[in-house]
């Protein structure tokens, strides 16, 4: 018994915190990015539909159903060395998202946008438009109506979407692996660390990482459930 607890203590003491901290950081930034894009798009689709907007909305929802490897490949082609964008960034700023933890943020944001989009869209649809119209009639400019009437009323739905996005970004693996690679100490997130540990036969480390990931994901989902039922 003492031997087992000594072994467990060593396992936990030697625990490499980097993948966990990186995953928390990447997921946070990806959620912020997904919120900006997702809430913005949801508002446009809900309040200012234009010809082709439903098609655009379907395209924006694609990352939810496409395999992560497709998303990874699209990002590689769009931002890689040989792409116009990637080339331009490299030439002028010596910057690339490939093999960079920023790439993991971009990949995670892309897969999180559909979740924010759907949740915010539903929230916006449930708002009483007369309140918004009343505000504009009283002289509030559109951005003021948005930030002081629309968003506060839609807040529980948007927050639920954000929490789902965070959980999804924490678990993002396929696309971020293709774009950012799994460089220990630089771009290796929690899911990648589990994958590497399993591949190398380090089952104890893999199990510990799985437990950590599960606990965090359960926490996030439990909190988000509360906000879903508030709506």
């Amino acid at each position: 018994m003492r031997y087992i607890s000594a072994y467990m203590t060593k396992l936990i003491a030697d625990f490499d915190w980097f993948p966990l901290l990186l995953s928390l950081k990447v997921a946070a930034l990806a959620t912020v990015l997904a919120l900006i894009i997702g809430v913005g798009l949801a508002w446009v689709f809900a309040r200012k539909p234009f010809p082709g907007s439903s098609l655009l909305e379907a395209v924006c929802m694609l990352p939810l159903v496409l395999p992560p490897t497709v998303i990874g490949y699209v990002l590689l082609v769009a931002a890689g060395r040989r792409s116009p964008l990637g080339n331009w960034l490299r030439e002028h700023f010596d910057y690339t998202i490939i093999f960079n933890w920023h790439g993991a943020v971009v990949a995670s944001a892309v897969v999180a946008v559909p979740l924010v989009l759907k949740a915010s869209g539903a929230a916006f649809a449930g708002i009483d438009r007369t309140l918004e119209n009343a505000a504009s009639t009283l002289g509030a400019p559109p951005w003021s109506v948005f930030f002081r009437i629309t968003v506060p009323l839609a807040w529980p739905g948007i927050l639920a979407g954000a929490l789902l996005a965070y959980a999804r970004a924490m678990g993002e693996f396929g696309a971020s692996l293709m774009v950012a690679g799994s460089i220990p100490g630089q771009t290796q997130t929690l899911p990648m660390a589990i994958y590497d540990a399993v591949q190398a036969g380090q089952d104890d480390r893999a199990l510990l990482l799985v437990l950590v990931t599960s606990v965090i994901s359960i926490l996030v989902l439990t909190v988000s459930k509360r906000y879903f039922s508030l709506r």
Binding site: R82, I183, A200
Partner: protein, 251 residues
């Protein structure tokens, strides 16, 4: 006859039909660098033994070992280094009597054909212009392990380590170099020959031990005879000819 009886009879007939029509097949786990050569070899083997099917499973040798250790139903294992095969033997996975060496290879330093800084030797990798070098993960990918040993003996490992991008297989290293996402990479000579339009060989590197490929039948194989004849085919003159064509050296 009741419906149930006739259904039972139909079921039995179908089951028997499946049994007799079922041709023998074997599963071969082979190192990623053998992808093209073994695809050809498997087709030739099936052609000369009609009714058999060879299912190929490619990946880094270390990963293949993990699969077999976890119980994957593999019949033949072809590894890119002796070390991984030795590990398989120590885990009692291999029928050691069937183990043979069937090919050799060489480690080369490759660079993208078009973009990137000029690299002509190992020492050029130290320059600031070379920002990223792709290697296989030393723990699970034989080419990574050869690379690490070679760089350590050349006193270059510690200085180059911050620039390294570790890949899951030799083909992934090749892909990174082919895409231009890294400035240089270490693959086998046979892999570099697959993409002459995207990568070029900057230098051939001497490794401390020869890059030697062993093959063996698994101890738990359910198709030992067919697996053994596949191994015999690989080391036969016909198999040698195919491996030659892809640039593999003699064992």
């Amino acid at each position: 006859m009741t419906t149930l009886t006739s259904l039972r009879r139909l079921g039995l007939v179908l089951l028997l039909a499946c049994g007799s029509a079922h041709a023998e097949d074997i599963t071969v786990s082979a190192a990623a660098s053998l992808t093209n050569a073994y695809t050809d070899l498997a087709r030739q083997f099936e052609a000369q033994a009609p009714g058999t099917k060879v299912k190929l499973n490619f990946g880094a040798s270390g990963v293949l070992l993990q699969q077999m250790a976890q119980g994957a139903p593999v019949d033949v294992f072809a590894s890119a280094d002796q070390a991984t095969m030795d590990k398989a033997v120590s885990q009692k996975l291999i029928d050691t009597a069937t183990r043979r060496d069937f090919a050799t290879n060489a480690l080369v330093l490759v660079t993208p054909l078009q973009d990137g800084p000029a690299v002509a030797s190992l020492q050029d990798l130290k320059s600031a212009a070379v920002k990223r070098i792709a290697i296989g993960k030393p723990a699970t990918v034989p080419v990574g392990s050869y690379t690490q040993q070679m760089l350590q003996s050349a006193q270059l490992w510690t200085v180059l380590e911050p620039k390294m991008i570790q890949a899951d297989s030799v083909r992934q290293v090749l892909d990174y170099v082919g895409r231009g996402e890294v400035d240089a990479g270490f693959v086998y000579r046979t892999d570099a020959a697959i993409m002459p339009d995207k990568v070029k060989v900057a230098a051939t590197v001497r490794t401390a031990q020869p890059v030697s490929y062993p093959i063996a039948v698994l101890a738990d194989s359910h198709h030992k005879a067919l697996a053994a004849s596949f191994v015999d085919f690989i080391v036969s003159p016909a198999g040698r000819a195919v491996l030659d064509r892809y640039g593999f050296g003699k064992p």
